[in-house]
């Protein structure tokens, strides 16, 4: 494993009783790279992400995270991971500030109060710092959720269908923060079925079909239209 490899999956497989979610999935992710995984619902994308996030501990094959096995992931490994999905991970009855403060403390950041304040400013919610999450609009909740994901400056960010339910502005915000993140050396692994958005932001793309990788491409080498064609064929097959 090369020094700049942040993640490597080797022959990862996972069965849930009756269904096989993943079959012999192998790929790697380098530092600063942005990898998008496409696939229809049920293709295994969420399962793969949960395995990489160390939420699922028993699976076939190997996952190497920051040089260590994901199966033996400890607190240090989790410290370097960030996660975002359609779940907001926010407590409805805490204020925006309290939510960020909670996570800052949970992640043992050095100046939790200041970090929380700074992130509130970054996602433009300072004027709502005393508002409970229940009272926020959807767009504001999404911004807060985003702030929460970046709060502890992870090395690897895992995004599970992040564009679902986001409006144009919110998508633009997300993409802006993501490119800032990768420019600073962070790596991103994203799953989505939004072809346009998912392709444009990525360095590389994979397609999962019924738990197997059936297609790989570098976005610099293949145009969006060409990829769309391939993807349509895969979904139809």
């Amino acid at each position: 494993m090369t020094l700049s490899q942040v993640l490597r999956c080797d022959g990862v497989g996972k069965r849930f009783g009756k269904t096989t979610a993943l079959r012999s999935v192998s790929f790697s992710l380098d530092e600063g790279e942005f990898l998008t995984i496409f696939g229809h619902n049920g293709a295994g994308k969420s399962t793969l992400l949960n395995i990489v996030a160390t939420l699922i501990r028993s699976f076939d094959g190997d996952v190497a995270l920051f040089g260590g096995s994901a199966k033996k992931a400890d607190e240090d490994t989790r410290r370097s991971l960030g996660f975002m999905s359609h779940d907001s991970f926010l407590y409805d009855d805490l204020t925006t500030y309290e939510n960020l403060l909670f996570y800052a403390r949970l992640y043992a950041l050095s100046a939790p109060g200041d970090t929380a304040q700074a992130m509130l400013a970054r996602v433009d919610l300072v004027d709502k710092s005393d508002a409970v999450v229940r009272e926020l609009s959807r767009g504001m909740k999404q911004r807060l959720s985003l702030g929460r994901a970046f709060l502890h400056s992870p090395k690897l960010l895992l995004l599970d269908e992040p564009y679902t339910g986001l409006d144009e502005t919110a998508c633009a915000n997300l993409n802006a923060m993501l490119s800032e993140f990768t420019d600073a050396g962070g790596s991103v692994l994203m799953t989505t079925h939004d072809v346009d958005r998912g392709y444009r932001v990525a360095d590389r793309v994979l397609v999962l079909d019924r738990g197997r990788i059936v297609f790989e491409a570098e976005t610099s080498q293949m145009g969006l239209d060409e990829f769309r064609g391939h993807y349509r064929d895969i979904l139809a097959g």
Partner: protein, 235 residues
Amino acid sequence: MKSRDYILPALVFVGMLVALYMIGFYAPVEREQGIVQKIFYFHVPCAWVSFMAFLVVFVFSIRYLISRDKRWDNRAAAAAEVGVLFCTLVLITGPIWAKPVWGIWWTWDARLTLTLVLWLIYVAYLLLRHYVTGDEKRATLSAILGIVGFIDVPLVYFAIRWWRTQHPQPVFGGGAGSGMDPRMAATLWVSLAAFTLMFAYFVRVRSRQLALEDEIEQAHQLADEASVSMRGDLR
């Protein structure tokens, strides 16, 4: 089945026949209670077996959490089901015995109450399994309950015993060494052995059944995959 698989069921069959003969003809009829007292030879072994079952669930639950091998979960589930079965029999034979002898259906006697509480804990175990979706989650959560439930047993025992010393009630069956006729003791031991063998056999059959269900699912899985890749090749 291999030929040595027949040993256990054969032993169960023979053991039960011997036990039934001894219960019916060898053991003397008790002076005070009459023939009803012979329920004792079913009641006590059922209780013994159900306690043993829950020890088995405890051990298998630990083994599952350590190894994550589904076979241990199958065996734990099988032992719990069989345990609940025998526990139910204790709770049924108890009143059947109590009514003609003491004139009441139920006494909050320490042993019977303990059995009732155990029954509740292990029925909860079965309900938990029923309501959890996902094989691994079900196995993990059941294992936790199997361990916690068993740890609770000594505490329940002491709690109930101290609670009952304040209200003495007729005690079922006396103690093992309460001056039983040696023929009764012998019959009891044989019956215990027969029931234990039956327990082992039931657990074995049931866990094999669960394992077979897993194998069938996997076979379906492989068949699905084969048809998927065939379709892919044909394209």
